[in-house]
Symmetry: C2
Subunit: 570 residues, 2 copies
C-alpha cells in the first residue's frame, strides 16, 4: 500500500515549515506556468485553456503517486510537439475530433506508463541512449522554434518536419502581418535580453540573487501583460493580430477520450514514443534534483505517477504531460520540500482558470510563440556532435542519424531511427569482439596481448583472450577466429581460451565451444580454458561439454600455461 502511495510516507511528517516553503515555491511556479501552459497548448495545436487544464488534475495525481519531491508535472515542449505531430494525420487542428484525439493520446500514454510501472518495465526506456536523446531534443527544439515562426509573422504555415516547415514558411512569407511581426520579434528580442543580459545587470546593480531570479522569471509574465494591454489599448486585433480570444472561465471539465479501436491503433506508436520520451525527460530531472537532497527516486513508481497524471489529463480536457525540466528546477530552487508544492500550484492554476481567463482575451499568439522560441532554443545544443565524435564513432553515427531523421522526417521517425541504429551498432560491436592472442610478460604471472607487449610465447600453445561475453551473435566469430589461427599453423598443439572477460556463455556459444573442441580435436589440437568465472563455471558444470573437452579448466592463466607447457605433444 505504502509502496504505491508515496504520499503516505511524506504526508505523515508534513509540518508548518514544509507548508510555508511549499506555498512559496507554488506561487512562483504558478506565475511561471500560466504563460507556459497556454503556449504549449498552442504548440500542441489545442486551444489555450487545454494547457491550464493539463496542469491542474495531473499535478494533483502526481502529488499522490509520484516519488520526486520537486518534479513539476504539466505540458512540456517536446511532448507537445510530438502530440501535434501524432494528431496531424488524424484530424484538423481546431476541430472537436482533434481535441478528443488528444485526450485519447494522453489516456493511452497514461495506461502504457501505468502498465510499465506495475509490470516493472521501466528498463525499456534505457534503450534510448543519452546521445540519441540529446540529438532528438536538439532537433526537436529547432522544429518547435520553426513551427512558431508562423505566429511571430502572422502567416499560415504547416508541417511537422523542418523541411516541410521551411518550405511552407517561404511560400507564405509575402503574407506577413507586420503589426504581428513587430510584437513577435519585439517579444522574442526582449525575452532573449532578459535571459542573457538582465540577470548580470540586476546583480551588478546590487540586487540580491533571490530577487534577481524572481524578476528574471517574471520576464515572460511582463511580456504577456504588456503585449496584451497593447493589443487591447491600440485595437490591434483589427490590424490582423491573432489573439488567444475567448477562453471559458471554468475549472477543468470532465471529459472522456474516444475509445475507437481505429483511432487507438493509429495512436499506439506515438503514445508509446511519447510515454518513453516523457518518462526519460522526467526521470532524469527527478534524479538530479533528488540527489541534491540524498533522496531516492523509484523509477517504477515514477511510471505509475506519470501514468496517473496522463490519465488525469485525458479525463479533464488536457493532453499528454510529463515532468518538465525548467519548471522543476524553479520549483526546487524556490524551496519546494514535498509534492504538496505541486498540489498548491494546481490550486493556483485552478484559480487562474476561473478568474484570470477573461484577461487573456487580447493576449497575442505572437507573444506565446516568443516565449516558446526563447524556451526551446536553450534546448538546442550541437555540442553532442563534437563530443560523440571525439568519444566513439558509433555514438556519433547514432546522434547524427537522430538529428537528421528528426529534422527531415519528423519526431517519430527521428527517435525510432536513433533507437534502432544504436541497438544495431551495439549488436554489431558485440558480434565482433576483441580477441587478443596473449603471452606471458617476462618475470610476472601476467599475460598480455602479443601485439602490444614483449611477451614469452610457446609456438605449440596459442592463448586467446576474448574480451566480451559469448552469445549467439559472436559465437561463430570465435569459431572462425580459432580456426583461422590454428588451421594454417601445424606446430600448434594446444589452444587455451582465457575467459576472464566472459560474463556469460549462452547455449549457442556453448555449442560453438563444443564445435571448436571437436574441430581442434580433429586437427590433433587440445582445448583448455582458464579463469572461467564462477557463475559461468556453474552452468558449464551441468553440461556434457566439460567432460567432452580434450583439455582442462585452469583457475588462472599462469597455471594453465605452466601445466600445458609440461604436457607432451598432442
Amino acid at each position: 500500500m505504502i509502496r504505491y502511495l508515496p504520499i503516505l510516507t511524506w504526508g505523515r511528517t508534513y509540518d508548518r515549515s514544509a507548508l510555508s516553503n511549499d506555498l512559496m515555491a507554488a506561487l512562483i511556479v504558478t506565475i511561471m506556468l500560466i504563460p507556459q501552459s497556454l503556449a504549449y497548448a498552442l504548440l500542441a495545436g489545442l486551444p489555450a485553456e487545454a494547457g491550464l487544464y493539463a496542469s491542474i488534475v495531473p499535478i494533483l495525481l502526481y502529488t499522490v503517486f509520484g516519488t520526486s519531491r520537486a518534479l513539476a508535472v504539466g505540458p512540456v515542449a517536446v511532448v507537445s510537439l510530438m502530440t501535434a505531430a501524432a494528431l496531424s494525420t488524424i484530424a484538423e487542428q481546431g476541430t472537436m475530433g482533434y481535441a478528443v484525439a488528444a485526450l485519447s493520446l494522453a489516456g493511452l500514454s497514461g495506461v502504457m506508463l501505468l502498465a510499465m510501472g506495475l509490470f516493472r518495465l521501466g528498463f525499456i526506456a534505457n534503450f534510448l541512449s543519452h546521445p540519441v536523446i540529446a540529438g532528438f531534443i536538439t532537433a526537436s527544439g529547432i522544429i518547435i522554434a520553426a513551427s512558431q515562426l508562423k505566429h511571430i509573422f502572422g502567416i499560415e504555415a504547416e508541417g511537422h518536419s523542418l523541411v516541410e516547415l521551411v518550405i511552407s514558411l517561404a511560400h507564405h512569407a509575402t503574407q506577413t502581418n507586420w503589426v504581428t511581426a513587430i510584437i513577435g520579434i519585439g517579444a522574442t528580442g526582449f525575452l532573449f535580453w532578459v535571459r542573457r543580459n538582465m540577470k548580470p545587470m540586476l546583480e551588478h546593480l546590487g540586487l540580491g540573487s533571490g530577487l534577481t531570479s524572481v524578476l528574471v522569471k517574471a520576464g515572460p509574465v511582463a511580456v504577456v501583460i504588456v503585449t496584451t494591454l497593447a493589443v487591447w489599448g491600440l485595437g490591434l486585433e483589427d490590424q490582423g493580430v491573432k489573439v488567444v480570444g475567448a477562453v471559458p472561465q471554468s475549472l477543468p471539465p470532465f471529459t472522456l477520450p474516444s475509445f475507437s479501436p481505429d483511432l487507438l491503433t493509429q495512436l499506439l506508436l506515438p503514445a508509446f514514443l511519447i510515454s518513453i520520451i516523457g518518462f526519460v525527460e522526467s526521470i532524469s530531472v527527478a534524479q538530479t534534483l533528488a540527489a541534491k537532497k540524498r533522496q531516492r527516486i523509484d523509477p517504477d513508481q515514477e511510471l505509475i505517477g506519470l501514468g496517473a497524471a496522463n490519465i488525469g489529463a485525458a479525463l479533464t480536457g488536457g493532453f499528454p504531460v510529463t515532468g518538465g525540466f525548467s519548471r522543476s528546477v524553479v520549483n526546487f530552487d524556490a524551496g519546494a520540500e514535498t509534492p504538496a508544492a505541486g498540489a498548491f500550484t494546481a490550486v493556483g492554476l485552478a484559480f487562474a482558470a476561473v478568474t484570470l481567463t477573461p484577461l487573456i482575451y487580447f493576449l497575442p499568439k505572437a507573444t506565446l510563440a516568443a516565449t516558446i522560441i526563447v524556451a526551446v532554443l536553450s534546448l538546442v545544443d550541437f555540442s553532442i556532435l563534437r563530443r560523440s565524435w571525439a568519444y566513439s564513432k558509433a555514438d556519433f553515427a547514432a546522434v547524427l542519424t537522430t538529428i537528421i531523421a528528426t529534422l527531415v522526417f519528423g519526431v517519430e521517425a527521428g527517435v525510432s531511427a536513433g533507437v534502432v541504429l544504436s541497438i544495431v551498432l551495439h549488436l554489431y560491436a558485440s558480434s565482433k569482439p576483441h580477441i587478443a592472442e596473449v603471452g606471458q610478460v617476462p618475470g610476472t604471472e601476467h599475460f598480455r596481448n602479443i601485439l602490444r607487449h614483449d611477451v614469452i610465447t610457446d609456438p605449440r600453445v596459442v592463448t586467446l583472450r576474448v574480451d566480451e561475453s559469448l552469445y549467439f551473435a559472436n559465437a561463430r566469430y570465435l569459431e572462425d577466429k580459432v580456426q583461422e589461427r590454428v588451421a594454417g599453423d601445424p606446430t600448434v598443439r594446444h589452444v587455451i581460451l582465457q575467459c576472464s572477460a566472459i560474463n556469460e556463455i549462452d547455449l549457442s556459444a556453448l555449442e560453438s565451444l563444443e564445435a571448436i573442441n571437436e574441430r581442434l580435436g580433429e586437427m590433433g589440437v587440445t582445448l583448455h580454458l582458464s579463469e572461467v568465472k564462477g557463475p559461468v563455471m556453474d552452468r558449464l558444470m551441468a553440461q556434457h561439454f566439460l567432460t567432452a573437452m580434450t583439455g582442462q579448466v585452469f583457475l588462472s592463466q599462469f597455471q594453465a600455461a605452466k601445466a600445458v607447457a609440461a604436457l607432451p605433444d598432442g
Copy 2:
C-alpha cells in the same frame, strides 16, 4: 584475384590421384542426387526437372567461387519449403508465373548473398542463434513431412503451416486413393527399414562397411526403380496414381527472372530469410568438414560462392539452392578432395537430364514424397527443448517460440519471431547486469560478493563490481543501483566501482558515470574506480570525466581498498 577465385589455388596442384577420388565421389553423389533433386523440386511446388537444373549450373559456379572442398550445393529441404511458402501468396503452383517467381527469388537471394560477401556482412547470419536454428529446422521438418502426406495418400491438401495442413488433410481424407497410399506407405516403410535395419543386417552378414554404405545410399534409387516399373507394368496411372509425367529431355535452359518491382518487393523478406538460413546451414556443414582436414573456410567467400550459385540457378531454370548437409557428408565420405568433384557431379546430372528423363515418366509422386519424409524426419529433434531448458530459460524461450511460431504461422514468421525474441532477451539480460557488492576475503587480496562469502567490509566504503560492459541499455540501471545503495545509508563516504568485467563504456555510460559522480558529490560521497581495462582507460583519459571525478582510479581493487581506508571522511 586469387582471393575471389579459390579455384586458382586448388586448381594449380590438381593431380591424377585427386581426379580419380573426385570422380568416384561424384558418381555416388550423382546417384543420390537424382531422386533428391526431383523430390525437392516437388516440395518447392515446381516441376521435377527444375530440381535437376538447380543442381547443374549452381554446382559449377560454386566450384569456381566456393572455398569448401566437400560442400555439395543444390536444392535442400528447408530452403525448398521456404521457397514454396514464399511463392504461395504470389502465384498458383504449376503456372508460368510461379516458375518465374522462383527464378526471381533465387536471383534476389543470389544478389543478397553476393552483396553480403563483398561487403563482408556475413556476421548478420550470426544473429540466428543455434537454439533458434535447431527449433526452426525441427519445426520445418514436421511441416515438410506433413506437406508430403497429400502425395502419399493421393489427395489434395494445401497450407504452409502445420495447422493449415492438418485441417486441409483431414478435410480431404475421404478422397484417399488407396493404390497411391499402398505405394506411398510401402515406400516410406521400406526406406525407414533401410535406414534403421539394413545397415546392421548387412554388416552382420559380413559385407564391408564401404559396400554396406553404398547399398544403404542406393535404397532410394531402388525404390524409385521398383515403384516406377510397378506403375508402368501394372498400368497404375489409370488407377489414379499421380506420376512425374513428361519431363523435357534437355540441358538446363537459359531463363530470365522477372524484374517486376512489385514482385521483387514482395520477395525481399523471403529472399533475405532464405539467404540467411541457407548460408547458416551451408557454412556449418562446410566448417565441420573442413576441420576434419585442417582446412579453412572463408565465410565471406562462401557468401560469394553461394550467391553465384543462386544467380546461376535463376538463369538456368532452377530455384534457391544452398549447401546440403547429407549430400556434403556423402561427398566427403566418398573421398571428394576438391570442388572438382562438384563439377563432375554436375556433368553426371546433366547427362541424366539429357538421357534418363524419359525413364522417370511413370515415377510416382508418392515415391518422391516418401524419400522426402524419410530424409526430413531425421532433422526433427526435440532434444533441443530439454537441453535449452536445462541450460538457460532465455534460450528455451527462444526455441519454444520458434517452434510454435513456425508450426502455427509458417516458416517466415517462425524464424523472424525466434531471431527477434533472442535479440530482445539478450538486450534485456544485458540491460540488468549482475552488480555485486564485494568485500575483501580475509588474508587475501581478493574481493568477492558479500552475499556469497565471509568478507571484510568497511561501513564507510561501498564497493560494487559490475559484471557487464556499460552501454546505454544498462547505464541508467547502474545509476539507480548506486543511488539505491547510497541514498538510504548516511554512513557511506566512498563508492568504489570495480571495473574488471567492463570491456566497454559507451558515451551514455560515460554520462551516467558523470551523473553518478555528481550526485554522489552532492551527497558528500567520493567515487573511485578500480581495475579499469586498458582500452577503456584510453577512452576515459581523453575525456573531462577523470578530472571531474571526486576520487581516484586504482590499478587493483586491493590498492583501492587500502588507499580509501586511509582517506579522511568526505
